[in-house]
Symmetry: C2
Subunit: 264 residues, 2 copies
């Protein structure tokens, strides 16, 4: 099942530096799954500016809950019942139309410093997903999504809290399900890429430091709230903090050793 890919189309094709484009579900989905925040774009009206909201969201399949990241999945976004995007999704559904959204996740893995300003770059991973957003109305699916999202933010957290959410909590929470129609990822890894014309200049090579500054998200020590009574931080939290932090750092460092496909 690891070979499933999104078909290339006008919508999702990576034009610039196409060698960096990735279309397989696993790559596209992993970047989204490991991003704490997603950027969601929609149009409130054709005359207005497009709008971007930062939202929390996770990939899953209510129909096929054991599906992994290499399989077809929906994207569940968490929000408030009266927020603008939820109102738009509600209105679209009443008009039997669909709310088109674009969702993007980006992770910056390093600053790539080359000999000339214009050859500078970053190591990064980004995924862009295009789809239609609908309100989730069935309680079972909403609860599925709440668990998915809570455990997506911190593995094991849902079961570590007071569950299930009560009726008032679930009616003030809204979940959007994005049916993904198209998607792609773009990944840059490796060293700086300088042009031959600059690599031949001895004076330049002797003067300008080139290389990569790795960047990664660090999780600090958990800080208890003033009303916390649980003296020891639970193991599922310390494990998550350690494993996720280690994986982020590891990725940023190993990305530098990977080859890049093109200059800059």
């Amino acid at each position: 099942m690891s070979d499933l890919s999104y078909p290339k189309s006008k919508t999702n094709k990576v034009n610039r530096l196409g060698e960096r484009g990735k279309y397989d579900c696993k790559t596209v989905h992993e970047i989204i799954a490991s991003s704490p925040v997603l950027h969601v774009s929609f149009n409130s009206s054709p005359e207005d500016f497009p709008v971007i909201l930062p939202m929390i969201g996770k990939l899953g399949s209510f129909e096929n809950p054991s599906a992994d990241l290499s399989e077809p999945l929906d994207l569940y976004l968490h929000g408030y019942v009266s927020s603008r995007i939820m109102n738009l999704a509600r209105a679209s559904s009443r008009e039997s139309s669909s709310l088109k959204v674009c969702v993007c996740a980006t992770k910056v893995d390093g600053l790539v410093l080359s000999l000339t300003p214009n050859s500078h770059s970053m190591n990064y991973r980004s995924s862009v997903v295009f789809g239609t957003a609908s309100l989730v109305t069935e309680l079972d699916e909403k609860l599925y999504a709440m668990r998915l999202i809570t455990n997506g933010v911190l593995t094991g957290r849902y079961e570590g809290t007071r569950i299930p959410p009560d009726g008032a909590e679930m009616s003030s929470t809204q979940i959007l399900r994005v049916s993904i129609e198209s998607a792609s990822a773009k990944v840059r890894a490796g060293e700086p890429g300088d042009y031959d014309k600059d690599l031949k200049q001895e004076e330049l090579l002797d003067r300008v430091w080139t290389g990569v500054i790795p960047m990664y998200t660090t999780y600090g020590d958990p800080q208890p709230s003033h009303y916390n009574r649980v003296k020891e931080v639970p193991e599922y939290i310390t494990n998550y903090v350690k494993e996720t932090g280690d994986a982020e750092r590891e990725y940023a460092l190993t990305a530098i050793a990977k080859g890049d496909d093109e200059t800059a």
Copy 2:
């Protein structure tokens, strides 16, 4: 000059949890200035999905280069001459129309863990800017923007490289200038906010760990390229890595002590 704010309007008003909304130039601009990557949304046609691109961009004023972040500024975005957004901007300009964009920057400062799944949150800072994008055609302004962007990524880097960029480099690089029409920021800081109904449950308080896991970007040790000859990493780079990393960590930790305005 520190009191300048973007006027509240239908476009930029923070509706949900309005107390978290900020409109002053300084807050809005600082979040953008400290974000390594920006998410830029635009429409390629009214029928298509909105599109989000991750781009590198920095705030500045070509007319008033000494302006600081509390003053009115333009947003300069860096891209490739043949990319889709640049082609759209070029086409808009030929038709004497303007390309409407939304640009969003988000920094996640911590995972906020409360007693119930639905009260979970994140500490974060996000800025959303609405404006019209035009291609920069004058070489002086393009060079101004290249310096702004390069030094925005790493203070002092422009002067540390081979400058100025040559003609071929500048013709393959395109700069978009976004004239900001409206903008706002949203900031969540502080501890978890649980509801009284849950804070009264002794069993829950005894069982569920609550608090914040700080998150921040760490800059690792600079890794030289295989063709680097400069043995010692220049001081402007080590200073930047140290100062920026320290500031990120400091913000995430002090954000926890700040009060939040509302539950969740």
